[in-house]
Symmetry: D2
Subunit: 377 residues, 4 copies
C-alpha cells in the first residue's frame, strides 16, 4: 500500500476529493495525510472527513513535508490540488525532501516556473505525473495507439475543443471558491480559460497524435465584463508536420457542460473522441463504414493496455474517477517497481509544453493573433 499526502482539497474543493477517490480506487494507494487548507481548522475538518488521523492534518505543506519526512511510515508521494501559483513551490519542496509528486494541471502558473520545475524533476530524479485527466480515459489511450500506429495515415487536420458554460456570470464575485482563484492572475497565472481548460485540449492533441503543435495564432477574450483573465480562446494551429488545425475553448459558452472533444483526420480516415460519451471511440473511413469502438475489459478488438485499463466489461460505463484512477495506477506501478513512469502518463515535459502553449497564446493574442512558434527560447 502506497501512502499519499494531499495539498489542497479542503472544504469546498472540487478536484481534491476526486484525486482521493481516483487514487484509492484500485486499493493500492491510501490517503493518509494532508495540508487541506491554509486554515488549520479547515484542514483538520477535511482530514476528519477523509478519515485521517488529526496528527497528520497539517496547517501547510511545509509542515506536512517536514513532519512526514521524520515519520517511520511517511507518505510516499504528494498530490497537489491547489491553485496554480502553488504548484511549483510545493512540487519542488516535496521532491527536494524525497517525495514523488502527482500534480494537477497546469504544471505551474508561468512558463518560467515550468522550466524551474523541470529542472527540479531532473535534479531530484523523483517521479512527477501531471493529471491531464482525459489521458486517463482508456479510449483516449486507444486513440493514441491507433493514431501513432499509422492507421489513419499521416495526420492532416486536427480539431479540438473544450466548451464550458459555468463562468457565464461573474461567479468569482460570489464567494465561489473554484471560480475565485481561477479568475485571479495572482493565483491562476497568465491564463484564464486557456490555462484552465485550453491546456487540456492542447495536451490532448499532442498526446494522441504524437505530433507537436508547431505554431499558433491565438485570439483570447474576456467576454464577461470586468474579468481580468481570458474566458474564451480561439486558436489556429499548425502542427509540426504542417497540418492545419484549430483549438477552441470557452468557459462562457452558456449551457455547455464540460465538452472536450478531439477530432484527428489523416489520409485514410479520421477519429473522434468526445467526453460526452467517453466510453466509445469513432473511426470514420474514406471508403468504408464508420466504426465505433466500445470500452470494456473484455473487448478483444482493443489493444491490450487499453483493455486492462478497464475495471468492468463492455456496456458498463466508467467515468472521470476511473480516468484519474488509471493515471494513479500507472503512477503506483512505477513507484512500486522503481521504474520510470509509463509514457502514457503526462510528465513534466508535457507540463512545459502546456505552459509554452499558454504563454505563447497570451502573447499571440496581444500581438493581434500573430503566429508564434511553440519552441523553447
Amino acid at each position: 500500500m502506497l501512502r499519499m499526502g494531499m495539498v489542497g482539497g479542503g472544504p469546498g474543493a472540487f478536484i481534491g476529493p476526486v484525486h482521493r477517490m481516483g487514487a484509492e480506487l484500485d486499493g493500492e494507494i491510501h490517503l493518509v495525510a494532508g495540508a487541506f487548507s491554509s486554515d488549520p481548522a479547515k484542514s483538520k475538518l477535511a482530514a476528519s472527513g477523509y478519515g485521517i488521523a488529526a496528527e497528520r492534518a497539517y496547517a501547510n505543506y511545509e509542515e506536512m513535508l517536514k513532519s512526514e519526512s521524520k515519520r517511520s511510515d511517511p507518505i510516499d508521494f504528494v498530490v497537489i490540488a491547489t491553485p496554480n501559483h502553488l504548484h511549483l513551490p510545493i512540487a519542488a519542496a516535496a521532491m527536494d525532501l524525497g517525495f514523488h509528486v502527482v500534480s494537477d494541471k497546469p504544471a505551474t502558473a508561468t512558463l518560467a516556473e515550468a522550466y524551474k520545475l523541470r529542472e527540479a524533476v531532473r535534479r531530484t530524479g523523483k517521479l512527477y505525473a501531471l493529471t491531464h485527466t482525459y489521458t486517463g480515459y482508456p479510449l483516449v489511450r486507444e486513440a493514441r495507439t491507433i493514431c501513432r500506429r499509422g492507421d489513419l495515415g499521416a495526420v492532416r487536420k486536427v480539431v479540438v475543443e473544450y466548451s464550458q458554460g459555468w463562468l457565464s456570470d461573474r461567479l468569482e464575485e460570489t464567494g465561489h471558491k473554484q471560480a475565485a482563484w481561477r479568475a485571479d492572475p495572482a493565483q491562476a497565472g497568465l491564463g484564464g480559460c486557456i490555462g484552465d481548460i485550453g491546456v487540456h485540449a492542447f495536451n490532448l492533441v499532442e498526446f494522441v497524435t504524437g505530433l507537436r503543435i508547431g505554431e499558433i495564432a491565438a485570439a483570447l477574450s474576456s467576454v464577461v465584463k470586468g474579468r481580468r483573465l481570458d474566458d474564451d480562446c480561439n486558436v489556429l494551429l499548425r502542427m509540426d508536420n504542417g497540418a492545419p488545425g484549430v483549438l477552441h475553448a470557452s468557459q462562457i459558452a452558456a449551457g455547455e457542460r464540460n465538452g472536450i472533444r478531439l477530432r484527428v483526420y489523416g489520409e485514410k480516415g479520421g477519429l473522434e473522441w468526445s467526453h460526452d460519451d467517453p466510453n466509445c471511440l469513432r473511426l470514420n473511413w474514406k471508403d468504408a463504414p464508420s466504426q465505433t469502438l466500445y470500452a470494456g475489459s473484455n473487448v478483444n478488438y482493443l489493444s491490450e493496455p487499453t483493455r486492462s485499463a478497464f475495471r468492468v466489461p463492455i456496456g458498463h460505463p466508467e467515468g472521470l474517477i476511473e480516468a484519474f484512477a488509471n493515471i494513479y495506477r500507472d503512477f503506483a506501478t512505477a513507484l512500486r517497481n522503481r521504474q520510470p513512469l509509463s509514457d502514457v502518463v503526462p510528465s513534466i515535459e508535457a507540463g512545459v509544453r502546456g505552459m509554452l502553449f499558454v504563454e505563447r497564446a497570451v502573447e499571440s493574442s496581444r500581438a493581434g493573433s500573430r503566429w508564434l512558434a511553440l519552441a523553447e527560447s
Copy 2:
C-alpha cells in the same frame, strides 16, 4: 469506518471487485475480511490482492461469520457476491449471527427461498439491501421522483428492455466462470436470462413508477442449442393500474453490450432513461419541447437527493462503480445512524417481487404464455 466482509469475489470474479470499489469509494466502508472462494488458497490469494490480512481470508462463509463474531473489531456487514443458490444460506446465517447484509441480485434462487429470506430479515431486524445497481444511478432516482410526483400524469404504458449479447455462444462450456454458473440451474435457480437481467428490468419498472406489475404473460426461450436455462425473454405486462407494457431481455442479442433502458409514458408525457447514457434523462412532452436533464452535483434543476448522489459537477461522467457506491452510501448512513434503510434502496420486499416475477414468468412461459398474476399465493 464501517467494516465489510465479502463472500465471493475471488479470482475470475466480475462483480465482487465492483462491490469492493463501490463500497469503499466514499471512504466510509472498508473491506477487511472475506471468504472469496471455496478454494482456501484462492481465497487467501484474493485477500492479499485486496490488502486484507491473511487471518481474515476465510475458507468459507461459515468460518468467516463465526470468527468475525468473536473479534473485537468484527465486520459490520456481509456482502454476498456468489451464485444465486448461496444467497439465502449466507444471508440467513449472517443475520442470525447479527450481521447486516448487502446481497447481489436476485435475492435468492427460488421464490420459496425468497420467502424464507424475508422471514429471516423480519425475524432478525437486520438491514438487508439488494444491489439492483441501476437504482443507484442518480438519474434513475430522479426518474422515480418525477414519476411518483405525478409530472407525467397517470402512467399509461411501460417499455423496458435489457439486451446483452455475451451469451450468443455456449460460453458456459469454455471454462468461463461467469457464464458457467449462470447456465446451471443448480446454481442459478429456475431462471437464466430472466433471473440474471430480466429481474433488473422488472425491478426498474416498479422502482421508478411506484406501480406494481399486476400480471404477466411470458415467452422464454433457450435460443442457443443445448442451453438448459432461458437466454431470451419477452414478456407482456399489465400494471396494477391497468396500463399495458412490455419487457424484453436477451443475452443472445449478438452485438449488444449491456443495454438496459426504461420508458414510461403518462398522460402528459414520457420519460426515458438508458444505460447507454446514464448521465442524462429524457423527458418528452405532449405539447412542449423535449427536455434533457443532465447529471451533476451542481445541477440546480435536479431534486436535492439526486444532486447529492453525485460526486462531480455537470459534464463529468459517473458510471457503474459510482452507482454501486450510492447504494453503499445509503446503506452506511442507515447503519451508522441505526435507522431503517432509505426507501430508494431495494429491500427484501423488492427481492420477493423479483423472485415472484422470475417464477411466474417461467410458469407462464411453460403454460403457453398464459397471463399470471404477480401475487403472493
Copy 3:
C-alpha cells in the same frame, strides 16, 4: 410521363399530398386527375391546388374511373389515399377497368377483403403496390440485403417497435379528420393502432428478415377512455424459424413522435435501423467494432440497388417523401417496362400478410393473448 389519378387527399389530408410529392419527385409521374373528396366542391378545390384541370376533378372514384377510361390520355394508375374501408372497392374497380393501383396501407379493412383484393389482382393481372413507406428507405432495403445475404447468420431474435403519442387524447372528438376515421371501426376496420402502425412494424420484420412471423400472442388495449379501437399493442412473436421476438406499437406514448425501429439479431451480430435517423444503419458484431453505414448515392460500400435509390451524396439527408418516391420509381419502372414489380415493393401478398396479422392480433388479444398461427385458414 405516367399519369396518376388519386382517390382521397383532399383538404385536411396528410398522406395524399405526400403521395403526390413522392410520385412526382423523379419527374416520371404526374398527378392529372383525382376524386379528392366525397364533397365535389372540396374535390375541385383540391384539384385546383394540385394544378389539375377542373374537368378531371371528380366527385367520386366511380366517376373518375369511368371518365378516365374514355379519355385518349387516361390515367395509367390510381393511387388510393382513403380510409381503409374504401381500399378494396376502389382498387378492385380500378383494376377491373384496366388501371394499375398504388394503395396506402393497410391493404384493406379486413382479412376477408384482403383475400378478395388478392383475387382481383390475380384476375386482372394489374400492378398493385402497397405503400409500406419504410420499405422505401434505401437503408431499410440495404438491411434486407444484408440480412437475406446471411451476413448476420441465422436470425435469432427480432425486436420491432412503432411509438407515437399523437392519440394521447381523444383527438377523434375534436374534428381532427385523420384521427376521426382511424378511431372509427366502420372506416378503419378491426384494428386501431395495430392496423394503422402495428402493421408497418409487422411488415418491416418480414420485409427485412425474409422470414415469416409464424405465431403471435397479442395484448391490445384501448388506453384512452371511450376509444373503441385499440391504441396500444404489445405482441410476442415467434418467427417461422423458431426465433423469438417482440413487437410493440402505441399511439398513446405521449411525447413520442413517429418512432419506428427495427432490430434483428443473428448468430454473428445484429442490425438496427431507426426512423429517428433513417439515413444510417447500424451493425453490431459479436467480436468486432460496430459499424455505421451511411446513406448516399456515392457510398461505395452499399449495394448497387441501394446506392441508386438515393438522389444526393453522403451527408445530405433524404426523408419520407424520398422514401415514397423510391416506391413510385420502382412502380413506374415496372409499368413503363411492362414488367412485374420489383420484389422490394410490397405487393398484395404483403397486404394479405398484414391483414392476417391484424386479425389474428385482435383475435389473440380477445382470447387472453393466446398464441395463434399467422397461417391462412
Copy 4:
C-alpha cells in the same frame, strides 16, 4: 404555375437535379427549358431526361434567354447551377432580359463580380435569390427567430464548422466533374474550400444571429499536394458586437460526410443545429434542462412561419430537397405576388457578404492570418 429555365445541371451534375426537385416539389414551379450543358447534344439529352421539349433544350444560356424572351410562354426565371465564374454573366444577362434569377452559391467568382451583380440586381429590379440551402431548413429559420428574438440574450460566442472528406484525394484529376471545376481557379474563383463550403458556414452565422462578422483572421491550406486552391480553412472571427468566434471548414477531413453545424452562445444559453440531424434544434440553458425542438407541421411550440415550412408532421424527416423547396416556395410566392423576397431568403446582399468573406479570408491567409475587416472598401 411558374416556369423555370436552368443553366447547368447536365449529365454528371449533382446540384442541378436537386434544384429541379426542390423547385417542383410543391407543384408551383415547373422546369420547362434549359441550357444544361455547353455540349448541345448533352443539353438535349439532359432535357429529355427532365421531360422537356427538345426545342427548349438550348446550347447555351444566351440562346436560351434570347429564345425564351420571344415565346408567348417564356420562362419566368432562370436557375443558375453552373461553376462560379458563370454566375455573374448569366445572372446579369437574364435580369437584363427581364428574367428573375435563382443562383447557386457563391454569388460569383470574385468580390468585384459580386459588386457588379448587386448593381445589376438594383438596376433591373428583378428578384434574385441565392441558394444557401441550409437557410431553407425550417429549424435553421427557427434558430434565427429564437436568436433574433433575444431568447439567448446578447450573442457572446459563435462556433461554426463545415467538414467534408470527399476531396481527400486528387479527385479533380480523375475526370470527376464536380471536383474538377471546384479545383480550378478559372472556374471556381479565388476560393476553394472557403468558396465552396466555407461561405455556407459564414452565411449561416450571419443568417441566424442577425449580427455581422466584423473581422476575420484566416489560415487557408492546400493540404492535398498539387492542389491549387485551398481545401482546408480555419478562421478566427470577431462579430461586430465584439463577440469572438471560430469558423472551420475542410474538404480533406477524411471520413466526414457533410457536417455543417452551428453553435451560438448568448448570455442565457446556447443553441445548436447540425446537419447530421437537421430536424431538431437544441437549446441549452444556463440553469434549466436542455431542450430539443423537433420538426413538424403540427408542432405547436414552433413559430408559425417555421411550422408552415414543413410538409409532414413530427417524426417524419424532411431533408435537403425540402430545404431547397422552401427557398423556391418563398421565391415563387414573391414572384406570384409581385412582392419583394422574404428576408429569410438570401439575397444579393448576402452574396456580396459571402464574397467579401472569401476574398478577405484569402487575403488574410496570405498575410500571415492578419485580422481584416469585412467591410466594403
